[in-house]
């Protein structure tokens, strides 16, 4: 296959990838979009086989390995529970990162295969692109592994900080740049290995100080990195499909990080520098006086809801942990049978990744036109009778609007307190991730329901 013809096909698959993302603008077109993505991938892979034109025994091995990998991927995709989606995405990012590193290494060892020159005499531009691809890929890999471990609970979600952390990170970043420069002037393979090794290290170091609830930003950021790594390799291979895809994924991840940061009213750097919600912030809250709290049981909650005409559900990460989405939907079904209007309010940073709550509700067969974003629904709280907060905390805290001293001041929050009454399902009065007390607990019209989210929801349904 001629180089020009294959370039045209790579362009086509790049365009199909754009259409795949475009399809996600609404759930109706999204399935078609995914199909475009799959077609684009098939074109890119087929064209590569044809343009390499090597159908010897190696080709058989490639197909076999492709199918083994594909079978593993398909198995994971069908087995994974929807609540584990953040871990899955983090795990997948790590694979893209590692694949980018491997491709860069292969190109470094055998540049002839990619028309980049010969070992020890690689074209300067290619060497720079290769180093960027390898370094960003390595950062994506080790960062995603840490994110995965934190999300999975294997590693504590608490931030890990130590003295001189930022200085160390800065030194490593500078040395990556210096190494890339030296590598280009000497073409030494030792430097290439060191570059990859310290890139792995920095990926690890930049994620450990970031706490569990900041994971939406981390996952989006790593999503972005995996794109830039792919683009770096795309430049090395002079491949348009990779360049287009890398740019798309890179900007997609960057936008998601931006949306997540805005949802917390924090700057990107504030999140990345980490340490948020660490021990020092929690200790300042202990001298607060004990305030009275109204608590109730499932019976009281059922009574309140039965007499309401509209209910707004506010789900959060706690719902995912308790796997309460199905029980919740059953409760809502019963409410609807009694003629009560129910809608769902989703805060942009609810859960551990962008859109996490929406997927869980969709899994529990909640129609997506009953689920609303913060801006769409926030004015409705004032007219609603009951707000049912299940597993959310900081995103409902009115302190963000009233107390300029609070660490979450200025963060957009759901105006839950404007409801006639608030039902708050929570296991205890402990503060949320930001380490601050929620004023909502102590309001006159709040009824605390101390229980496991799933069990409480089931009990309420029984009492309705």
């Amino acid at each position: 296959m001629s180089a020009n013809l294959s370039a045209v096909f790579y362009l086509i698959s790049g365009v199909l990838f754009i259409l795949a993302l475009r399809g996600l603008s609404s759930p109706e077109t999204s399935r078609q979009g995914n199909l475009f993505g799959i077609i684009g991938m098939i074109i890119a892979i087929s064209v590569t086989f044809l343009s390499v034109g090597n159908f010897s025994s190696g080709f058989i091995y490639v197909i076999v390995i492709l199918l083994i990998g594909g079978a593993i991927g398909a198995f994971i995709a069908y087995k994974i529970p929807m609540t584990a989606m953040p871990e899955l995405v983090a795990g997948f990012h790590s694979l893209v990162g590692l694949a980018a590193v491997f491709v860069a290494i292969a190109a470094f060892i055998n540049p002839g295969a990619f028309n980049l020159g010969s070992p020890g005499n690689i074209k300067l531009a290619s060497l720079i692109e290769m180093s960027i691809g390898a370094a960003v890929g390595a950062i994506t890999f080790s960062g995603s592994v840490i994110a995965f471990l934190k999300l999975q609970g294997i590693m504590s979600g608490a931030p890990i900080t130590f003295k001189g952390q930022h200085l160390l990170n800065a030194l490593i970043l500078i040395s990556i740049i210096v190494l890339t420069y030296l590598l280009c002037s000497t073409q030494s393979s030792n430097l290439f290995w060191i570059l990859i090794a310290i890139s792995f290290l920095i990926g690890f170091l930049i994620i450990i100080p970031i706490g569990g609830a900041d994971m939406p930003v981390v996952i989006s950021m790593l999503n972005s990195y995996s794109g830039w790594a792919a683009a770096g390799i795309g430049f090395t291979l002079e491949n348009t499909a990779l360049i287009i895809t890398g740019a798309l994924v890179g900007s997609s991840g960057a936008i998601l990080s931006y949306i997540m940061c805005k949802g917390m009213n924090r700057s990107f750097f504030n999140v990345i520098l980490g340490g948020f919600g660490g021990t020092d912030q929690i200790s300042t809250n202990q001298n607060k006086e004990q305030r009275p709290v109204k608590s109730g049981n499932a019976d009281d909650a059922a009574f309140l809801m039965k007499n309401a005409s509209s209910v707004i559900i506010v789900p959060g990460y706690g719902m995912a942990v308790a796997q309460a989405q199905h029980a919740l939907r059953e409760m809502v079904d019963t409410l609807k049978k009694n003629g009560i209007k129910v809608s769902y309010a989703i805060h942009p940073v609810a859960g551990r990744m962008p859109g996490h709550m929406n997927v869980l509700l969709a899994e529990a067969n909640v129609p997506y036109d009953e689920v609303f974003e913060l801006e769409e629904i926030n004015n409705d709280f004032a007219n609603a009778d009951v707000a049912f907060v299940i597993g959310a905390n900081d995103v409902t805290n009115p302190v963000a609007k009233t107390d300029p001293q609070s660490p979450i001041y200025g963060m957009p929050v759901l105006d839950v307190e404007k409801c006639k009454s608030v039902l708050f399902v929570k296991r205890s009065l402990s503060p949320g991730y930001a380490g601050i007390d929620n004023d909502l607990f102590y309001k006159e019209n709040t009824l605390m329901l101390f229980a496991d989210a799933k069990k409480m929801t089931e009990d309420i349904t029984k009492n309705l």
């Binding site: 995914n34 590569t48 991927g73 994971i76 694949a99 292969a106 859109g355 969709a362 036109d369 009953e370």
Partner: protein, 103 residues
């Protein structure tokens, strides 16, 4: 004077960033999780480089140090491609509209 092909690639890159910017802003927030899994799947188009590396045999040898890295990368990217597209499909199939005739 002739323009370096690198400049053409750079142009594609920059324009694609802008395309990505506008396309992603139009994605509805409720589909942000599928967006992440599908971007993950398409970024595995890096498999193209892995295939080239794996099939570039020197002197007729199938397994060389560089082709082995290629094979490993194919494996990783293939997990991602199948896993990413299929899990996206599984998620998207769950997004349903309100049924008109309520049970």
């Amino acid at each position: 004077m002739e323009i370096d092909p690198f400049i053409f690639r750079l142009s594609i890159f920059i324009l694609s960033i802008f395309v990505g910017y506008y396309v992603v802003w139009s994605v509805t927030p409720s589909l942000h999780t599928p967006l992440m899994s599908v971007t993950n799947a398409i970024s595995s188009v890096i498999i193209v480089g892995a295939i080239i590396a794996a099939l570039a045999n020197i002197n007729g040898e199938v397994f060389t140090s560089s082709s082995l890295f290629g094979f490993f990368a194919i494996m990783l990217a293939a997990i991602n491609i199948f896993g990413g597209f299929l899990v996206t499909q599984r998620m998207l199939a769950m997004y349903k509209k309100k049924k008109k005739d309520k049970k």
